[in-house]
């Protein structure tokens, strides 16, 4: 009988963890919606908050661990665990305008017993989105969850990028790591940020 590979063991672990992953994502989604109710109720017409959730698929989870290895190859002599991934259960809150980010950040603080900040940074070190991970003991003590609070246009760009490029062809995830692609991606993110800021300024001016 052929020896079991790292991939075989990780797939088995994934399906052992799957009920917990489902509990965590459902719990986080409900908590997020509940904690945002007060803010959602007093949004202006042009303002939006959208809550998305997802369970990371088995092969995406393996791929993420594999991409931590240089050469994108598992060392069959090393041991790996999917519990090292913080985003098996994930919630993303898309926010427009950016001026709402802070109060949403405060409102969502109690989701985890204790949360660890891991912001998503741009090439210049600027914060593109807030990201936290932690445990919801009511849902699972084994699987952590992650939530992101993202300016809407940036988040939608990531969603389009994911569904148009990475979802059908995960091998292209590392394409954006080349210097040329990083520079172009940074320009897109800067343009989206500038667009949102200018729009917000116009809305503020009109109101004042």
């Amino acid at each position: 009988m052929p020896e079991r590979t790292v991939e075989d063991r990780l797939r088995e672990e994934y399906f052992d963890l799957l009920p917990d992953i489902r509990h965590v994502v459902e719990h986080m989604k409900a908590e997020t919606r509940h904690r945002l109710l007060a803010i959602s109720g007093r949004l202006d017409k042009h303002e939006q908050i959208k809550v998305d959730s997802r369970i990371k698929e088995c092969e995406s989870a393996l791929d993420k661990l594999r991409r931590r290895e240089q050469g994108r190859i598992f060392d069959q002599e090393k041991s790996y665990t999917l519990k090292d991934l913080k985003d098996l259960a994930g919630v993303r809150v898309l926010v427009f305008p950016r001026s709402r980010l802070e109060e949403i950040d405060i409102a969502l603080r109690p989701i985890f017993e204790s949360r660890t900040a891991d912001p998503i940074l741009g090439d210049g070190g600027e914060t593109l989105a807030l990201k936290y991970w932690g445990y919801c003991p009511e849902a699972s003590s084994k699987v952590p969850g992650e939530y992101q609070i993202v300016p809407m246009l940036t988040g939608l760009f990531w969603t389009v990028e994911h569904s148009a490029i990475y979802k059908p062809s995960p091998r292209y995830k590392d394409a954006v790591r080349t210097p040329q692609m990083q520079a172009l991606r940074q320009k897109v993110l800067e343009a989206l940020g500038a667009f949102e800021e200018e729009f917000e300024r116009l809305v503020r001016d009109e109101k004042s």
């Binding site: 240089q70 050469g71 994108r72 590392d174 210097p179």
Partner: protein
């Protein structure tokens, strides 16, 4: 970013191509491969020096920030051909 552009140019000038599946810049004639992490981590001067060096032996030579195990080197050499 300027430094990264210089590094990418150095790799292109020396005939290195990007391998999406492995996130490596490789040159099949020189049998040398640089991980994207090595390229991001090391200064441009060091990268250019490593590009210019002759490979020490007949097989693939990998430039990683952390020395890959023998098993990983064997498997990568097999898949890269």
């Amino acid at each position: 970013m300027k430094d990264l552009a210089r590094k990418e140019q150095a790799l292109r000038d020396a005939g290195y191509k990007y391998h999406f599946d492995r996130a490596l810049y490789l040159n099949r004639t020189a049998k040398k491969a640089f991980s994207i992490e090595f390229i991001e981590d090391k200064p441009a001067d060091e990268l250019e020096q490593k590009i210019a060096e002759d490979a020490p032996g007949p097989g693939w030579h990998f430039f990683f920030t952390k020395e890959p195990s023998d098993a990983v080197q064997r498997e990568l050499s097999r898949v890269l051909g």
